[in-house]
Amino acid sequence: MPAAPASGSRLRLTALLAPPLLWLTLAYLGSLAVLLLSAFWATDSFTSDVVHTWNTDNFHELLTTPVYRTIALRTLSIAAAVTVIDALLALPMAFFMARVAGRRWRRPLLVAVVTPLWAGYLVKAYAWRVMLGEDGVVNAALAPLGLHGPGYGTTAAVIVLGYLWLPYMILPVYAALERLPGRVLEASADLGAGAWRTLRSVVLPAVRPAVLAGSVFTFSLSLGDYLTVQIVGGKTQLLGNVIASQVTLDLPMAAALSAVPVVLIVCYLAAVRRAGALDSL
């Protein structure tokens, strides 16, 4: 008798899980597999038609052409820079929101952080294009100091990407800090630690997993981005741009190229997982 409800619930569970699992394997992982598979095909150099002959030329070219290495390294450094900047901005901001500001201020601040997420990506990027332009407010504001803004280029791309992904860093750090018991901070003070010591030995270790979790977003989103770079990056070329320009001409090469960010992100996730950042997700 007890077996019947068990098998019944198992059936229900299977029915419940089948559609999402099917979706995950077929549509989600399946498309990734097709993408990687097409990297092993060739392209007719004249008609741009995909020729289904198995070869590893694309990966060979990817690994031996210096320009691809340069672009991959540039993309990686931009993603790393964006992540570091966002972490440095998010920590004090989240600390202020969670521990310093009174209860009344907490909600408006949280809303202020989240609101930009509701605005369109392109609108925000183009707003920055206007601001960073030759006649833009950035140059106008810096002119009295005898300075000139960064103009369009790599610096501009880092600034705008840092702006775009900042909420994804603030929110997890804020959540971690809010959960941090006040008693721990009091204990630290009772034991004679100053503000710096408490920050270094108590707060930072406690929010480290949250920072790493936030960095997964800032890092992977920057790694795959190509629109921001197209809008404010000047002549900067990132992996995303090269993939986008190759998709129409040489799909297999584009597929091989897009394996690069996939590999980078998998490595990053593995590193972050070891640090325990994914436990709280």
């Binding site: 004249f46 672009i71 002549k235 998709v247 129409t248």
Partner: protein
Amino acid sequence: MRKRKMSAGRSVAAVCALLLTAAAAGCGSGGDDGKGGHAPEKLGKGEGEVNIIAWAGYAEDGSNDPKVDWVHPFEKKTGCKVNTKTAGTSDEMVSLMKTGQYDTVSASGDATLRLIASGDAAPVNTALVPHYKDIFPALKQQPFNSRDGRMYGIPHGRGANLLMYRTDKVTPAPDSWRAVFDDAARYEGHVTAYDSPIYIADAALYLMRAKPSLGIENPYALDQKQLDAAVALLKKQHKAVGEYWSDYQKEITAFKGGDSVIGTTWQVIANLTKDEKAPVKAVLPKEGATGWSDTWMVSSKADHPNCAYRWLDWIVSPKVNAQVAEYFGEAPANRKACAETSDPDHCAIYHADDEKYFKRVHFWTTPIKQCLDGRKDTDCTDYAQWTRAWTEVKG
């Protein structure tokens, strides 16, 4: 039934395309049967709609400017609803045509050969396009729009890639491409260039004059040594480039705001930038220029061929061809259009009938292995190599 026939045609086309790239002789006359489908013998009833791929400004329906609308009159006259997809680059056009969802495309010469070779474009029966007889003879049966004596589209218009500059920031007024190549450092960070592998031809064109020892005869027929020289020149230019453009809106705002002060442009962009009150001027430098000659081609997989043919005839009819040419800033293809332009001097300004002028314009052509300048003793670089070189130029 029809579908099955098409796919047989497609595989023949694929084989042909392979032969074409492998052998200098190409497909031969016998291999033409079925390649890219057949041109219809006569037109049937309209299908009620037509899907077109066009350059910005080629299929205006009044949404950009209420006074500029030749799509609605067409719909009213033929009952074919027009669905327009605006493409930014030739490469985008080629890949969109591969989807088979579009009936006709306003392809430039750097796309046409690829579309013909891949079987995506069908030969056109010019007898079904009554206005074809009024097209300038110099645009008919060109290497980039025909093969073996058959037209693969209806010529639409032509123009040059000009040199545009801010009159307040660039003095003296430039009259040579030298300003964006050897002298580019003077405007460091504010030079712009067209973001496409085909831009390599602009460097090659400059080298034809600046470095005759390279022996470049045709900017689209470069052997490895000549391509390397062009790439080296472009890498030098790269240091001075502020940004590359492929989106014409981006170039307008860049020139308006002073982020770009000198670089390549199309007449339409120069016109729109001037409309925005920016002090710019566009010139055809003394070396001549690269340029484009556009052709309306019909897809070999067209679902609405009858409406597509009606569009072809409509877009080159004198009045409409004049409207497009004036709005876009190009030389019309129909000689009767010159009588219909609102500015009576339009055809003179754009040298519509001036073959001597267009001798100085080297129309975009897909670079292929067999040298287009007739050299038999060497292999030329093809578009795939140009694409890789372009990635390298941008670094």
